[in-house]
């Protein structure tokens, strides 16, 4: 079945609502500003009106309320809006929900799913373009789900709503909502915490997640066509749990790695991945690990300025070539 990313999320949410009355939604802007995405959710909202709690502009209160509802035995999905808005919810999102199971000595479970749309989305400028995965990755107790494809948009949402026993944040990407692919919903999914080899290759490994998987695949096509370089692309799918093993195994094969991350360069998610490779794959590396990330500047408004900071497939390809040159030098 051919579906887009937003439709795949809506399908997983619908299935969870049907399967379990304890599932309900707080808020309703899951598709952000995407027209196709909003259409995907419109029928869902019609069908399950009584299971969708209308939400004021109150991210802190909503994040805490969803956590509290999970404590009372429900499995809520709460829409926190754009990645940048989660900062309004930070105290509840990082200092309440992820601590409760641990602080209670295992007495209490908090099966809440937080949702937000991250990413440099075009014209979002400094205050509507955040990628929050690096900051959230430093919070023990919180699962970080970062689907890069419609299939994972479905599977990761389904896992969060129907299987998870603790707090998860589902970080959708604004620019992926309209992406389409053929998905066989009856096919078994990779388990949670397993990375996916999105493209096989022998020359270099590109470790990516979220929108960077799409760009890495485009870069790999460019490299194959222009330079006969075969890049392997690893889609991490989740940053917590973090599948270090698959990433290291790929680098053991290729000997070279580019870590792709839409976070800012310094202390980004890519820094953790690169550090893992530097330590665990040291013996396999033929060249230093390269980090492709958003430069350390707030995101500007003007389109040419914004583009200057976006890591495009072309910039990726140059990064890969730099890694290969570094090895020759």
């Amino acid at each position: 079945m051919r579906v887009n990313y937003a439709q795949a999320m809506a399908r997983a949410i619908r299935e969870a609502l049907v399967a379990d009355r304890k599932v309900f939604l707080i808020g309703s802007t899951f598709a952000g500003l995407s027209v196709a995405g909003r259409a995907a959710f419109a029928t869902l909202f019609q069908e399950f009106g009584d299971r969708i709690i209308p939400a004021p502009i109150s991210e802190l209160g909503l994040a805490g309320a969803a956590t509290g509802a999970a404590l009372s035995g429900c499995r809520p999905l709460v829409d926190l809006g754009a990645g940048s808005f989660t900062f309004q919810a930070w105290a509840q999102l990082v200092n309440e929900a992820p601590n409760i199971h641990y602080m209670s000595g295992g007495q209490s479970r908090v099966p809440v799913t937080f949702y937000s749309l991250i990413g440099i989305r075009g014209a979002g400028a400094a205050q509507h373009s955040h990628r929050t995965q690096a900051m959230l990755g430093n919070v023990p107790g919180l699962r970080l789900l970062l689907p890069a494809s419609p299939a994972d948009a479905y599977h990761l949402m389904k896992w969060a709503l129907q299987e998870s026993d603790g707090p998860s944040i589902y970080l959708g990407h604004s620019l992926l909502l309209d992406d389409e692919e053929e998905v066989d919903f009856s096919a078994p999914a990779l388990p949670i915490g397993k990375a996916r080899i999105a493209r096989n290759g022998r020359d270099v490994t590109i470790v990516a997640h979220s929108i960077m998987v799409r760009r890495a695949l485009a870069a790999a096509d460019l490299l194959a066509a222009r330079h006969r370089i075969e890049a392997e692309v690893v889609d991490m799918r989740t940053l917590s749990p973090l599948d270090r093993e698959t990433m290291v195994r790929s680098v053991a094969k290729t000997g070279r790695a580019v870590v792709a991350d839409e976070s800012h360069f310094s202390f980004g998610a890519g820094a953790e991945l690169a550090a893992t490779l530097a330590f665990e794959a040291f013996g396999y590396l033929k060249a230093p690990v390269y980090r492709a990330a958003t430069p350390d500047a707030p995101i500007p408004f003007s389109p040419p300025l914004e583009s200057a900071l976006v890591v495009t497939p072309e910039k990726f390809a140059m990064a890969v070539l730099a890694v290969l040159r570094r090895e020759q030098a």
Binding site: K22, F24, I53, P54, P56, S58, L60, G61, L62, A63, G64, A65, A66, T67, G68, A69, A70, L71, S72, G73, C74, P76, A91, Q92, N95, E96, N99, I100, H101, Y102, M103, S104, G105, G106, Q107, S108, R109, V110, P111, P140, G141, R143, S164, D165, G166, S240, P241, L242
Partner: protein
């Protein structure tokens, strides 16, 4: 909803909290546990009056000043005291300490030590109970300082918009004795003339109660909890408590020594500020005095209850002090509910 306890049980419940907290102060003085802590001395009637009106399906949310609420709800002194000392036998396996103590089986599943942090959680729990069509309601206990935080406004607004069954119990313990009269002193740090102006602006019916008047609190909570249960919508009450003088210091101190029941019956404690507090503001001793005066409880009966509770608390101290420390491996366990490992 009727009150379910008799006066003797109430005195026992309040005394259990008083003697437990005194023991906590003693343990802190003996450096039996590190870090800061907070005691509930002087506020006992509030927790006791609320909890006797609750049913097992109800949930409560408390704060860093949680011992009294949890004891009133029925938590075992042994496992509470063990948790305060950081022992493996504590309710939270030594991971919470005094500040974040929770007892899930009693409907107190998460305790935030962040000012205002528990109000959104409590409000969401009420939403969850409503969604599950539970007969239960939620009581959120917090101090006047919580209203300094934005989280409280968001939470109360959500409760009013969503119409969820929650009673907000704001225990305003910032009031000095000389300003106990209504309206003279709303809080230590809020610019509102009255704390209840805040929830009232959000259309939550709100009232003020006297934290030293046990009978008044019993009637107030029976009525308000009944209203919350019947209407499924929020209520707010500010309980005005006068801070126990031992709480004035950076670290709590048993000024005048452990509470003496004879202080209720004519013996004057020292220092004078304690005597004034006992005379005007101590809910436990004022209630005891009224019960003895009206013949509902004899001095001998009160002394017997006290002896029993003291034994219980001494046993809790012994249990805690002789309990093992958690195994070092425990520090990395229970981060995630599934599987237990990252």
């Amino acid at each position: 909803m009727a009150n379910t306890a008799n006066p003797s049980q109430r005195i026992e419940s309040m005394l259990r909290i008083r003697r437990f907290e005194e023991q906590v102060v003693r343990l802190a003085e003996a450096r039996a546990f590190p870090g800061h802590y907070h005691v509930y001395i002087g506020q006992e009637a509030t927790a006791v009056a609320v909890c006797e009106t609750l049913i097992p399906e109800d949930m409560i949310f408390t704060t860093w000043r949680n011992h009294g609420h949890l004891l009133a709800r029925g938590a075992g002194p042994n496992r509470l005291m063990a948790e305060i000392l950081g022992r493996a036998t504590g309710y939270c396996r030594g991971k919470s300490g005094t500040l974040h103590l929770s007892v899930s089986e009693l409907g107190a599943p998460a305790t935030s030590a962040m000012v205002g942090g528990s109000l959104p959680l409590a409000t969401g729990a009420a939403l969850g109970l409503k969604h599950q069509r539970s007969v239960g309601i939620v009581v959120a206990f917090f101090g006047d300082g919580a209203l300094d935080e934005g989280a409280s406004y968001e939470a109360i607004n959500l409760a009013a918009l969503w119409k969820v069954p929650i009673l907000y119990v704001c225990e305003n313990n910032s009031i000095p004795p000389e300003k106990r009269k209504r309206g003279q002193y709303p809080s230590s740090s809020l610019s509102a003339a009255e704390l209840v102006d805040v929830p009232r602006a959000l259309q939550v019916p709100s009232e003020v109660a006297d934290g030293a008047d046990t009978d008044g609190l019993l009637a107030c909570f029976a009525r308000l909890i009944g209203e919350v249960r019947r209407t499924g919508s929020p209520r707010f009450v500010e309980v005005r408590c006068t801070r126990w003088p031992g709480n004035r210091m950076t670290w709590p101190e048993l000024i005048g020594g452990e509470c003496n029941l004879d202080w209720a019956l004519g013996v004057r404690p020292e220092p004078p500020e304690l005597a004034t507090w006992v005379e005007t503001s101590d809910p436990l001793l004022l209630y005891l005095r009224r019960l003895v005066a009206s013949g509902q409880l004899t001095q001998q009966e009160a002394a017997a209850v006290d002896a029993r509770v003291r034994d219980e608390v001494a046993a809790a101290r012994h249990f805690a002090e002789t309990s093992p420390w958690p195994n070092e491996a425990e520090a990395r366990l229970g981060v995630y509910a599934e599987g237990g490992q990252p």
